[in-house]
Symmetry: C2
Subunit: 347 residues, 2 copies
């Protein structure tokens, strides 16, 4: 998934106000990445440096590092002199995210990423795999150095969960009777655990106790799951002009996402069999998107999927209540705003 | 490169005696890997577990973990109770090595690895990329937990150097006037730095001072370079029945290795131009191996490359002299034996 798309959504709680509030941190994060690459410049191959620049600086919104910084501040980081360079720690999450995108785009043979040729297209598959490996190692180094052993353990746990989620997804392919629980196991591993770790490590770096760490981890987990559900909804319902990508990709690929799973689970026999027959036919997956969407509507698949995302965002917000000190209400409002953004984004 | 090939070489200083001496440690390393995967078993996808087993347990000789354990013991590890699980630390190097092989085999579209279908063939490219990422993360976690922050820094430095070396090699492709210095920059990054880190981290874990760490790092660096030179020699001179692979691959691919670089540097104008013309022609690279080999012989390319490897092994051995206590002479003899093995191996 890509939590770093450009632009504003039209929903409540985000929009220009949120973006303006996040602007200064976003600028420092951007600079921290530039500075880190600059320290490497003399030591690494010029082509590798070029690939890293191309892949890292592409208009991403840096949601993950923002979460680290905001959670760190919410949990009291910055109040005490700790020696942690929180921005340097935070960019590790963007590095890992980009490493994953480089490898995903090789795996999916993707052509475009954020409106430009993907790294594997611009430079070839070998540089894409290798540059991903480089960022992967660099991200671990940053977390180990800036966050310490416990942070590294959380970070590596999230990374291995991510790979595990991808494997589950592979195994689920062509299983058209996929259960809701299988779907959530995949999105937790693929998406949510890293977002959870992003928030947890911010809390850890702030030196807050385990209750605070757990609260922010949960916030991130719920946020990450909701993000993925919305992503999957947009693949059916998105406005192609806003999202910049065509709808119906998941159905065409026979990918079982929540709206479809919920519809199949509730459909009457004939409709369920019709959906399963369409999924089983390569041709009907290509021609049957409108019919499938209508059947999902009939069984409230979209509405119910969105309800689940809303419930998750509500849970995420409830986990922020622990942080009720006056001094951190601005950070709390930003994290609430990010949660609303996830729910209301149109692209 | 693959330092984990099966079997004995016929040279001095290795053979059955060395293998028998290394046997107990090799068995514990094997078990430590099995145990580590067993702890993961409930938590990871069954297909991922299968791919990891397939890719990790394939008759490799575990040279890297052996180096960690032997260097640790040589540097006084085991004499004091330190709480370091040296075998758990050591297997991180095998994990990283295998992660690299998984990705290399995807990049090279390799079919066979150690006499069996490569992971990308047996399970597909996607599982190969993802399982490599998993092992990569797991190796970092083990080093961070068992070796601490300094070890992690050395380890990540070697990993990023490895990727950097691969990029230099990419950039060097089709540069038939490659200088010796460029060749060494590539093999240091691709091969030698990780072997150096393997030895250095063993020393670090033993708590020896910086002089001892540096000595063992140098030992590993020289050993790694020599290994790669011998690998490149075998690609011209190897006995196909022993090595199990055909000769001439590097020349066919236009890959500039030391024998060829040395020959081109010393050849008379007509011979140099002949070699460069052959390299520039895809057809002549396929048909001209015997002629090219003869020209390399004429300008002592093979003899001189081997001399360089011998000098490096001599330097490696000289760095072990620091460890002159009676109690560690058995470990020292094993590390000397491994160096001799590298030089004299036939496959």
């Amino acid at each position: 998934m890509d939590m770093g798309t450009r632009g504003q959504s039209g929903g409540a709680g985000d929009g220009p106000g949120l973006m303006a509030a996040l602007g200064p941190d976003m600028a420092i994060i951007e600079q921290a990445m530039q500075d880190d690459l600059a320290t490497l410049a003399g030591d690494i191959d010029a082509l590798l440096a070029e690939v890293l620049h191309y892949g890292l600086f592409n208009g991403g919104k840096r949601i993950r590092p923002l979460l680290t910084v905001l959670c760190w501040r919410l949990a009291g980081g910055g109040k005490v002199k700790s020696g942690v360079d929180i921005y340097r720690l935070a960019i590790a999450f963007e590095y890992l995210h980009c490493a994953t995108l480089f490898h995903d785009d090789v795996i999916d043979q993707a052509l475009i990423r954020r409106g430009r040729p993907a790294v594997n297209v611009a430079y070839g598959e070998t540089p894409a795999i290798l540059a991903g490996d480089f960022l992967h190692a660099r991200s671990m180094l940053l977390v180990g150095k800036e966050g310490g052993g416990q942070a590294l353990e959380v970070f590596c746990g999230a990374t291995t969960a991510m790979v595990d989620g991808e494997f589950r997804q592979l195994r689920n392919a062509r299983n058209y009777n996929l259960a809701e629980a299988d779907y959530f196991a995949v999105i937790k591993g693929k998406t949510a655990q890293l977002i959870g770790a992003t928030c947890e490590i911010g809390a850890l770096a702030a030196g807050v106790g385990s209750e605070g760490q757990q609260a922010l981890r949960d916030y991130g987990l719920q946020l990450g799951c909701a993000f993925q559900i919305i992503d999957d909804l947009l693949d059916y319902l998105g406005d192609e002009a806003s999202t910049g990508k065509s709808v119906g990709n998941d159905f065409r690929e026979g990918k079982m996402t929540l709206p479809l799973i919920l519809a199949i689970a509730r459909a009457e026999d004939t409709d369920r069999e019709r959906l399963l027959a369409m999924l089983a036919s390569g041709e009907e997956r290509h021609t049957g998107f409108a019919e499938a969407s209508a059947l999902i509507v009939r069984y409230d698949g979209f509405v119910r999927a969105r309800q689940q995302a809303e419930e998750m965002i509500a849970k995420a917000l409830s986990r922020l209540r622990l942080f009720d000190q006056d001094a951190v209400q601005q950070e709390r409002a930003m994290l609430e705003g990010l949660a609303a953004y996830v729910l209301n984004r149109r692209k």
